[in-house]
Every structure is written in C-alpha cells, then in structure tokens.
C-alpha cells in the first residue's frame, strides 16, 4: 500500500516539472506549451462540452466494445475448444489479427451510412481480435484435469463450452479485454479525428485547428482520465469475476 500511495506523488511532481518548463520558455512559445494553470482554467470552462463529448463517444465505444466482447467469446470458445476449427481459423487469425485496425477507419467511414455506424464498426474490429485470440487460446489450453472431469461427468459439447472452457478461458479473455479496451479508445478517437462533429477526439482536433492549445491539452488530459476510469472499471470487474483464480 505505501508503494501505491508513493506512486501518486508522481503526479504533483510531473505537474511541477510542467509548470517549471512552461515558466522558463520564451514568451512566444508559451501559447504552444500552455502552463498548468491555463490548462486547468480551460478544462474547467470546457467541462460541459467535454461531458457532452464523453456521452457521444461512449455511445460509440460501449456498443462497439460490448458487441466485440460478446462475439469474440461466443465464437472464440467453440473455435478454441475444437481442434479442427482452431486449425481452420489459424491462418485467418495470423493474417487478420495483426492488421492495425486504424487502417479500416477511412474505408468504414466511406462504406457505412452514418459516422456512428462506421465508428462502432472500427471499435468493434479493434476490440474483437484481442478478445477473440484470448478466448481461443484460453479454450485451447484448458488443463487436462478439467477436461477429464468434464468427460467423466458426461458433459456434451455445449455443456463443456459453457461450464468448463468458458471459465477456464476467462483469465485469457480478460487479458484480451484489457488490450481490446485500449484499442477501442485508440480507434474511437482516430475515427472522431476523421469524421465526427462531437466527441472527445473531435474536441481535441477542433481546438488544435484553432490553435487553442490550452483547451486541446485539457481535452487530452480529460480523455486520459476517461480511459483510466474505463480501465479501472474493467480491472474491478476482472477481480470480481476471477475470484477463484488465485
């Protein structure tokens, strides 16, 4: 616990360094590198807009992410637990999974009728692969004693997937969900930089266009806080669901 608390001291330290650097810069550079106080003021003034942006962003992120996790788990557990399916999909996984999903953004925006639909789609793609790979590898490496038990208990395929493979894969699924969440945020903001008129990514892009750097930096910090909250929430969920895994 003391270590965790001492880590928090890093934040005032960083802000101090920031303030110091902003102070010693020549005046003409200051507008590019706003001081903490200016950013704080901008943040305070923008909170309303940022909150609206958060709501708009979450309307994209949450459906995209949840759909991705559901699809990845529903599809990944059977694939991972079935030898032939694992081999059948292995080439696709090796080719498609490492493609940086940001490359889909322009095409998705062109292809799908609304910005929201295309943004949800790219968030889905970005979050799907890490969770899918986690579910597949988790379901493929169920410890032998659990598989033996399932066989002795006479589990059918569906019962095995649901009662054994899913639970055994859950730690790997959560690892994938962490990576998937980070991907989802990246894709969300990239998509918003491209084509949104609201949202967190749009906020940053908008004020960068106007060279209003205090607001832009405020937007970055605010986005960081939202990302951090989402990751913390996920970690809490993981802790609750994996209580047995200690």
């Amino acid at each position: 616990m003391p270590h965790r608390l001492s880590g928090l001291l890093l934040f005032p330290l960083l802000v101090g360094v920031w303030a110091f650097v902003a102070e010693i810069l020549p005046p003409q550079s200051r507008y590019l590198f706003p001081a903490p106080l200016a950013v704080a003021r901008a943040l305070w003034e923008s909170l309303g807009v940022l909150w609206q942006g958060t709501v708009a962003s979450m309307m994209i992120l949450i459906p995209g992410y949840i759909l991705a996790v559901l699809a990845a788990v529903l599809f990944g557990i059977p694939v991972g637990a079935t030898t032939w399916a694992r081999h059948f999909f292995a080439p696709l996984m090796r080719v498609a999974a490492p493609v940086p999903p940001t490359v889909y953004v322009p095409y998705a925006i062109a292809l799908l009728p609304t910005f929201r639909a295309s943004a949800i789609f790219v968030v889905f793609i970005g979050a799907f692969w890490p969770v899918f790979l986690g579910a597949v590898s988790g379901a493929a490496t169920v410890p032998e004693r659990h598989r033996d038990n399932a066989r002795v208990l006479g589990f059918g395929r569906w019962e095995y997937w649901r009662r054994v493979a899913f639970h055994a894969a859950l730690p790997a699924i959560f690892n994938g969900m962490g990576v998937g969440m980070a991907m989802a945020f990246i894709l969300l903001t990239v998509a918003e930089l491209f084509g949104a008129n609201v949202g967190l990514g749009h906020f940053v892009q908008y004020y960068a266009d106007f060279a209003d750097y205090p607001r832009m930096v405020a937007g970055i910090i605010y986005t960081g806080a939202v990302t951090f909250s989402a990751m913390t929430l996920l970690a809490q969920l993981q802790k609750r669901m994996l209580f047995w895994n200690i």
Partner: protein, 265 residues
C-alpha cells in the same frame, strides 16, 4: 452384472510400454487395492478403466459392455483436487447430481448436492469455493461429487496421497463407512503406493511392478472389518500379508526398493 474385466491389456506411449499383458477381473462390491511404485502405470490403469484413454491392445469390459469412452458409470477421483475452481462445492456436486438424477429441478438438485456434502462432513462448507478449502476438504468434495454421480464403480487415484496423516486416516475411515453402508456395495478400485493403506482398505491387493507395469502378485486379505490400524502393524496375519507383498517385489530385480516399516514402496 457389473463385473469389471480387463482382458490382456497393453498400453504403450510411443516406444514406452507402460502396461503390459495385464488381465484382471474385479467382482461386484469388491474393494480392490492396486499397489505399486510411483510412475509404475497405476494412474494409467485407472485412466484406461475410466475410458479416458484407450488400451493399445486388449479390451476392457464393464457390465458386459466394452469400455470405449468415459461414463458416469465409472466415477473417478483424481490425485489432485479436481473440483472446478469456478464453482462452489454445492454447484460442483450438483453438476454430478444433474447427471445421475436428471429429472430433478434445479432446487432439488442443490438439495441433493447438500446431502452428499453432509455425508462427507462438508455440510457447512457447501457455499464455499475450492480455493477457500483445505486439501482434505477439497478431496472430500471430490469424493462427494463422484458419489453423487451414482457410479457403481469408483476409481480412486491416490486420493489421500497429499494429505497429512491425521486427515488421511479420517478420510480412509470415511471412505470405508460410505462403502460399507451402501447396498449394494459399490465396486472400488483404489490406487496407492502405501502398504499400510492397502492393508487397511483392501479385500484384495494387486501388486503392480513397473517398467513395464504388470501384475507381479495378488493377495487376498481375509481379515474382518473394521480393521484396526494397530493390528495392521503388529498382528500376525497382517505381518504375513505384508511379507507376501514385499516378497512380490523382492522376486523382481533390485530396481524396486521396498520399505517395510514406513509402508512405502
């Protein structure tokens, strides 16, 4: 008839022959102990009977049918605590109840599961998860789940091997109580490397030699039950049983040392 019959079983893993030309018949309600050194193919033998692995040559029959796959008819308790860690004890046992009594409602299943847990002295721990339990409690839970399967044949793979002596003695007593109380009695095949445990539990002891595993001796234990732990060490009849078992191993080459006092091989 639920007699178990192994007809000239050989099991090889690659080039390595684990079990060789092994034939064995186990009668209904018999408590058979398979005694042998670690790594001597005892676990393999149980896995074959359970149907978790198939013999390379030879056949296994249970209740006049050839064993080809696992079945709740042949319940197995593994050496390591093999409850599902993500389910509570009650849910673990209820999964087995769902197989043996599929008509029960969800609630009735949970009630039946609680009864099985009470029978092994875990009535108060039904809501607990495996990681919250001691090794002995988990092994009781595994036993309760296998009992709940309603298997006429119980396969026990060194089930008490990892327990301290006190817990081991308690669970040995519990197993004997459960086995003797049931009518008709279940057939039990109990694997161990501990001579004392074999003498305490078995109607018959099969001595398994290793490299490759085969039957090197067979001793029928005609001692009344319940047997006292003291008699097993001191009584004349048990001393001659013990000598007979040790003789089986001594007749073989010297690569298998036999420990006469501590009860290990």
């Amino acid at each position: 008839m639920t007699t178990l019959r192994l007809a000239d079983i050989t099991f090889a893993y690659g080039d390595r022959v684990i079990l060789e030309h092994l034939s064995l018949t186990v009668a209904d309600g018999e408590f058979l102990v398979v005694l042998g050194a670690s790594g001597g193919g005892k676990t393999t033998l149980l896995r074959l009977i359970a149907g978790l692995a198939a013999p390379t040559t030879g056949q296994i029959f249970f209740a006049d049918e050839e064993v080809r796959a696992p079945s709740p008819q042949r319940g197995i308790v593994f050496q390591d605590y093999a409850l599902f860690p993500w389910y509570s004890l009650r849910d673990n046992v209820a999964l087995a109840v769902a197989k043996s009594e599929p008509r029960l409602s969800r609630r009735e299943r949970r009630e039946r599961a609680a009864e099985y847990l009470r029978a092994v002295g875990l009535g108060d721990a039904a809501a607990k998860y495996p990681h919250e339990l001691s090794g002995g409690m988990r092994q009781r839970g595994a036993l309760a789940r296998t009992l709940a399967l309603g298997s006429p044949l119980l396969l026990l793979d060194e089930p008490f091997g990892a327990l301290d002596p006190h817990n081991r003695a308690r669970l040995q007593n519990l197993l004997l109580e459960i086995w003797r109380a049931a009518t008709p009695r279940r057939t039990v095949i109990f694997v161990t490397h501990d001579i004392d445990e074999a003498l305490l539990l078995g109607d018959r002891i099969i001595a398994l030699g290793s490299n490759p595993g085969r039957i090197i001796g067979e001793i029928k234990i005609d001692a009344p039950r319940p047997r006292s732990r003291e008699d097993i060490i001191t009584a004349e009849n048990f001393r001659s049983y013990r000598a007979a078992i040790q003789a089986c191993y001594c007749r073989r080459d010297d690569d298998e040392a036999v420990d006469g006092d501590g009860g290990g091989i």
